[in-house]
């Protein structure tokens, strides 16, 4: 369960989050929608523990434990995953190497034994096949020269392998064609379970056709201004954010 409680955060003295509150229970898929500049990506970064943001008030708790005093890598090991809007390229580091480093870094932090190479390979191959990630991609440098769709699929592959208890997907639909959108949607749906929560950040309804949310929230000016069920997304698709943005001001 992810609890965000009256969260205030700024970067370079500029306030971005203004009393943001949201609870996403285990097994729940919540969607956040909102116009550009409403602080959606900032929310994802602050929860993930990106350096450079200053939290000036409130709390973020994962499964009851506050995350705020921990580093990004510790939050990852505690079971938090962020699928990036723009996944980064790491030249010279093969995808396979990166996956292994990530899995074992988390296991090490949790005091678990490293995964043996055969076990690791088996796990990766099985997950990759489901997501249509070719072997050749795993041998290439991470995200270098990958298409937008390939990068996003790889994000989902990482999520599948790291088995987080909570994941935020930050505009995972941007840059995806319809086929890729379906594959990504299937990947997320296959991970839905009663002890895992998701927060899906998106501009558009179309991703929510594939990943049907339990709750939909509108973010504006750094906080939630409206909450509802899946029907809220359809309404936004028709009428836009204008009314909610105006109400927030």
């Amino acid at each position: 369960m992810l609890e965000i409680i009256d969260l205030h955060a700024e970067i370079d003295g500029k306030k971005i989050l203004n009393g943001f509150s949201l609870t996403v229970k285990d097994g729940e898929v919540a969607a956040i929608m909102g116009p550009n500049g409403s602080g959606k990506s900032t929310l994802a970064y602050v929860v993930a523990g990106r350096a450079g943001y200053e939290v000036t008030g409130g709390d973020v708790r994962l499964n009851g434990k506050s995350l705020l005093d921990t580093g990004a890598h510790e939050r990852a090991a505690a079971g938090f995953f962020l699928a990036f809007q723009y996944p980064l390229e790491i030249p010279g580091v093969t995808t396979m190497t990166f996956l292994k480093a990530a899995i074992n870094a988390q296991r090490k932090q949790r005091g678990e034994a490293e995964l043996s190479t055969p076990d690791f390979m088996k796990k990766v191959r099985a997950a990759a096949a489901k997501l249509g990630v070719r072997d050749e991609m795993l041998r290439r440098a991470l995200n270098v020269g990958f298409s937008g769709g390939e990068k996003k699929r790889l994000e989902i592959l990482q999520m599948v392998l790291l088995e987080p208890s909570f994941a935020i997907l930050d505009e995972t639909d941007s840059g995806l064609d319809i086929d890729a959108l379906r594959i990504v949607g299937d990947g997320v749906n296959s991970l839905r379970s009663k002890d895992r929560g998701f927060l899906v950040i998106t501009h558009y309804q179309r991703l929510l056709d594939h990943i049907v949310p339990d709750t939909v929230h509108v973010q504006s000016q750094g906080r939630i201004v409206k909450s509802g069920g899946p029907e809220l997304a359809h309404e936004l698709e028709k009428n836009g954010y204008r009314d909610y943005v105006a109400a927030a001001e």
């Binding site: 580093g71 890598h73 939050r75 990852a76 790491i90 030249p91 580091v93 480093a101 870094a105």
Partner: protein, 491 residues
Amino acid sequence: MAAVQETVDKVKSIDVDAYKYGFVTDIESERSAKGLSEETVRFISAKKNEPAWLTEWRLDAYRRWTTMREPNWARVHYPKIEYQDLYYYAAPKSAAGPKSLDEVDPELLRTYEKLGIPLREREILAGVQGAGTRVAVDAVFDSVSVATTFKAELAKAGVIFCPISEAVHSHPELVQKYLGSVVPVTDNYFATLNSAVFSDGSFVYIPPGVRCPMELSTYFRINEQNTGQFERTLIIADKGSYVSYLEGCTAPKRDENQLHAAVVELVTLDDAEIKYSTVQNWYPGDSEGRGGIYNFVTKRGDCRGARSKISWTQVETGSAITWKYPSCILRGDESRGEFYSIAISNGHQQVDSGTKMLHLGRNTSSRIISKGISAGQSNNTYRGQVFAHRKASGARNFTNCDSLLIGNRCGAHTVPYVESRNSSAQFEHEATTSKISDDQLFYCMQRGLSAEEATALIVNGFVRDVLQQLPMEFAVEAQKLISVSLEGSVG
């Protein structure tokens, strides 16, 4: 605080403690009198029982050295070296010509054990050292070689691998023929100094058509205080032969700087190949820039025969100052030279390193891949020369120099000299400079890696092309070394 800043601060906070090999071995030693004079040169020569020609050769070098001036064109800064305040010879007292390992001072054996260098053949054969890789080792401690392993087995193949001080006596014709034939006595200030006072080093001769049955390696260790180390290595690959050779170096932590001026000469005859790898991990000094080795080294290979090949691979993480340009003279037609380098500087380290590819023969080719990584307040310069003689028709060179910056107080510089006197030569030069970004670090950390682990992973990716050139077992070692030299807690 930005993630990169954190890493930079962490890197900065690592001082001597990160240097694993900084211990001092307590062993009685014999030294020459302080300072450099004809007497010192004669003393060293007498210690080694050298023939008259070599004593004269040394004295000639010494006389010429006194007329030379220290070079100042490199992008490195250091206080004046007081050559008369140094010792030029130091030897563990008991190590005078041990016949077998049983006669070697156990303290010395322990030293090499601590350094992770296998000197006991039996244990290596029994697999005690793990992996079952067999590497013949020559261990040089201060000014003398203390042990050489697998000599008997190498001799069966006709390979000569021994301390150069021994080769002077056992193979004088080879030494006299090749010593100074690649790096002339008067080549440069430091090489001339080395010629006058060189103490020990390795000698390798691979007979025609022989592929050396195992990796050869020499481990250099400076132990004594105020003592310069001047080794001399000479490797000759006769027609159609092949050898892969690796050198490693460490030194204790000391507050004052120590001078290291080595000379390495390689000769390949027709169709021969030498692969020379270096993992240089001399003590780099502490976080304030105190102490560390001044590494002024002349390394040169002469592709004397047609279709011969010399390949230099270096991983440079140590030394306060590195001044070194392993070069290839491509004299034989269709000969090939290669230079693969990873140079990491951190703290206050200064690196001015690169290569020279001198194309003299026809259809010669060379390849240069250089990866410089600067962190802390260090400066890292690539300086390279590619030259084609007017008779070097069909000469080809490809150069790629990449620099990676970590933090914002370090510097990366690239100084290529390219000169072609033959219109058919094709020279290509590529260079990039990049920085580890906050975004990359955050991405890796979000997946569970700590800032140090993330930096090490990104750096290892950056140097991958070069690491692949190292013999496998050393590539692993080098990879660890890279992590250690950049981080405090990793490795």
